[in-house]
Structure formats: structure tokens, C-alpha cells
């Protein structure tokens, strides 16, 4: 197997999974989907941690700090606000009892 073929295979399969899974999300949940998948795209925080974790000093450290801060806003804020939204979706049964 060639070196490039592996990531391509993984990407193609993950894209299929993505399309199948996302098309099943009902319109009702499209706003949380948008903020939730945005939080997942914060996976680039991995790169930020690497960048900030190498004590290079000077400018690189400043950039690393900013990268971590930005990425953390995206991840923490994204997951929390999605959770807050989804917490508001009431189960029909519970409401019917009122």
C-alpha cells in the first residue's frame, strides 16, 4: 500500500460516514448540528497544543499561546452552547403532562 493511499482511504470512508450520519439529522436540530460540528472542527487544538508545548521562546510562544486560547474558545464554547441548546429541547411526554 502506498503511503498516500492510506490517508486517502481513511478520508474517503470518513466522508461517506459523515454524509450518511449527517443526512439523518432532522431539520429541527440543524442549529445544534452546526454549532456541534463546529466544536468538533476544533480538533485542530491538537496542533495548537503541540505548537505551544515546545518551549521555543519568543514569538513562537506568543503564537502558541494565542493558538491554544483561540482553539479552546472554539472547543469549550462550541460544546457548551450546543449542550445548552439541546438541554432546552423538551421531551413531548414530559410536557404533555402539564
Amino acid at each position: 500500500m502506498s503511503e498516500l493511499l492510506i490517508p486517502i482511504t481513511v478520508f474517503v470512508l470518513a466522508a461517506f460516514v459523515g454524509f450518511e450520519v449527517i443526512t439523518k439529522v432532522p431539520p429541527t436540530l440543524h442549529t445544534p448540528l452546526m454549532s456541534g460540528s463546529n466544536a468538533i472542527s476544533g480538533i485542530s487544538i491538537i496542533g495548537a497544543l503541540f505548537a505551544a508545548g515546545h518551549v521555543a521562546g519568543g514569538l513562537a510562544t506568543v503564537l502558541g499561546f494565542l493558538a491554544v486560547a483561540f482553539a479552546t474558545i472554539n472547543v469549550v464554547g462550541g460544546f457548551l452552547v450546543t449542550d445548552r441548546m439541546l438541554g432546552m429541547f423538551k421531551k413531548p411526554a414530559r410536557d404533555a403532562k402539564k
Binding site: 439529522v25 436540530l29 480538533i43 508545548g53 493558538a67 486560547a69 472554539n74 449542550d83
Partner: protein, 455 residues
Amino acid sequence: MTVTLAGFLYLIAAVLFIVGLKRLSSPATARQGNQIAAVGMLIAIVVTLADREVVGYGTIAAGMIVGGGVGLFLAQRVEMTAMPQLVAAFNGFGGGASALVALAELIRFGEAAETRTLVSIGLSILIGAVTLSGSMVAFAKLQGLVSGKPLVMPGQTMIDILLTTVSVAAVVVLAMNGSTAVAWGLMAVALTLGVTRTMPIGGADMPVVISFLNSLSGVAASAAGFVIESNALIISGALVGASGLILTNIMVKAMNRTFANVIFSAFGGGEGDFDSGAGGYATRGSADDIAITLAYAQRVIIVPGYGLAVAQAQHTIRELARQLEERGVAVKYAIHPVAGRMPGHMNVLLAEADVPYDQLFELEEINPEFASADVALVVGANDVVNPLARDPSSPIAGMPILDVDRAQTVVVVKRSLSPGFAGIDNPLFYNDNTVMLFADAKEGLAEVVSALKDV
């Protein structure tokens, strides 16, 4: 921690993202799904911190505390009506982080970096910076900090072509010589491109822009994954890319436009050179009249729109619905796919006001029911109920609409006869069976609620 164990844990993180997104397929499991995805992220972060290549934790701790604090604050304080802005801002921060990471890597490795690493660094800076500045413009427009109207500069097309050419050239040069100066230049050009390309897009089209930028940042994460050979990045990137594309596509389709049209046509802002043929007199109703009409109806369908969100009238409409239900009126909500300012926006607002989600109906489900409804109550919606969409010569021809005009009586609550986002008149307002209540949605509905108590 061996490489294998770390790799395995990253894979688990990716699987948790997939499982989390799968749970989003029903409101009953969605919250748990989001939490599962968050656990996946936590695992990925912990694994990265435990990696032996990471040596200094000071900067990391500082960054995480600051970022976490800001994220927490924003997530807890935001109004549900401001969700589009918030997503735009978060998306921008994500893009900024990618660009900064790429820049920091470049400084660390310098010209020693391999070509394919440099290509990825260039692309990350380009996509990341465009995402950052584009999202910030989107934020400003949605928040009302700058005008929502499309701002087309003279020579817009030339500027677009120029900035794009320069950016691509900078990526190529960077890949060849790895110069830090070129990277900073690329950053500056890309930031400018994000601004100049987003300003000419109308405020209501911002969700499309955000969704597209989000998709793009997913693709960028995948690209980074190719370089550092991280399956976690490739998989999550592909998931986000797919999600963004699907949402973009749904919005574009529901507006009956193309993606290119959204991005390049400076749509919205109400020039109105199409003659809708609408005219005549609009019938005006008082809150008392409307309360009586509603009280004696058997079936009422509520159609919320963007104006309801702006006026934050979701709790008031919920109160009105409850009073009607107590009187034995059957109340349903009709949710158009692009009502409001982002897909699913109305659902979140009504969820916030405690409306159970089984009372919300999608376009295809509810449209056949208007003919047997006594009252269609349209609150702050306009384009999504404009019957002109059935006229093949109108600008919104073919856009799927809610058939409110088939109801026996149509009550419309908005402040004036002025058009909605698409900028064209709405003949619905002049129909014989339409009654207008000219008021802010929240105040108008509050009046109806109190009038209802006296019926």
C-alpha cells in the same frame, strides 16, 4: 505512552465523534450525543498532552484558562436569538487557531521543513485566515455592528481576482523557500480577502457563508492530518467537511438559489425592481379583533419567522398558544427550513420557550393542513409565506413556501408592509382573508394575549 496506544486513543476519539453525530438524529438522544463528542475531544486533548514531545505546560495552561473562560462565558451568556453570530465567532476562532499553529510550526522548523509540510502550512494559513476574518465580518453583520446590506466595492471583481491570485502565489512561494516573511504576507492578504469577499454578501446570507467556512475548516483539518499522519484529524475533518457541505446545500436549496449566486450576487438589501403586482388595501386588525378570531377558531397554525427572533417574542407566542390550547383550540407550529437566520433556528427558539418538539411541523408535513386551518398566524415571517414564489417570473420563483394563504383567515404580525430579506413585496398582505397587526412581534402578541383574557 507508546505510539500505538496514543494512536488507538485518537481512533477512539474519532469514533466518539461519529457516535455523537449519530445521536444527533433525534432530539431525545441529541444532548447525550454532544456530550459523547465532547468526551472524544477530551480524550484527544489528554492524549496529546501526555505525548512525550510536549515539554512545556506553562503556555498551554495559560492559553487553555483564557480560552476556556471566554468560551464558557460566551456559551452561557448568549441569547438564543444571537446563535448565528456566536457560531460565526467560534468558527472564526477555530480558523484563527489553525492559521496560528501553521505559522508557529513554520517558525520552529524554519526552512528545514519538507515541501509537503510547507504546502500544508501555506494552505492552513490561507484557509484559516480567510475563515477568521470572514467569520468576523459575518459576526459583525449579524450583530448589527456593520450594515447587513451587501457592500459592493467599486472594482470588486478585480479585487477578488487580485487577492486570490496573490494568495495562491504566496502559498506556492512559501512551499519553495519556507520564508517566514512570505508567510506573514500570506496571512495579511488572506485576512484582507476574507473581509473583502464577505462584505458584499447580504446579512441574511451569512449563515451560508459560516456553514461554508466551517466546511472549509474541516477540509483544512483533514489536510493537516495528511501531513502529520493523524487519522483523528483526517476523520474529524471529513466529518465536519461533510456536515458543512450538507447544511450549505440545504440552505441554498431552500432559498432556491445556487451557491455561486449566494456568494457572488450581493443578494438582499431591498432594491425591489421586480413589479410584484401586489397592491390594493391591506386590512388592518386590532388586537381585540384578532383575539376574538383566534378564540373561536378550532385549528390554528402558527408560522414564526425572522421577526419573531429579532423581537425575542418566542415566550410570548408560547403563552398565546397555551391560552388558546386551554380554550380547546388545536395549535401547531409550521417551521420553514430557512425561517429565521440559520437552519433550525426557529426550533431552538421555540424549544427555549418550552414548546415540545412534537408540535413543530416541517413544510411538507404541514402544507396540506392549511386548507383545513381556521387561522394561520404569521409572526415576523415574510419571504417564507410569499405566494409570489408560485409565479415563475418572480425573483423567488420556485422557492418552497408555506401555503398560509389557503387557511380561512391569515393573521400577520409585523411592524409595517415593508419587504423581508428577499426585498420583494408580498401580495399575501393585500388578500381579502388577511388581517394585519402592525406591531413589534413581542408587543403585538402581548396585546393579543391580554385581549384574549377578556374574550
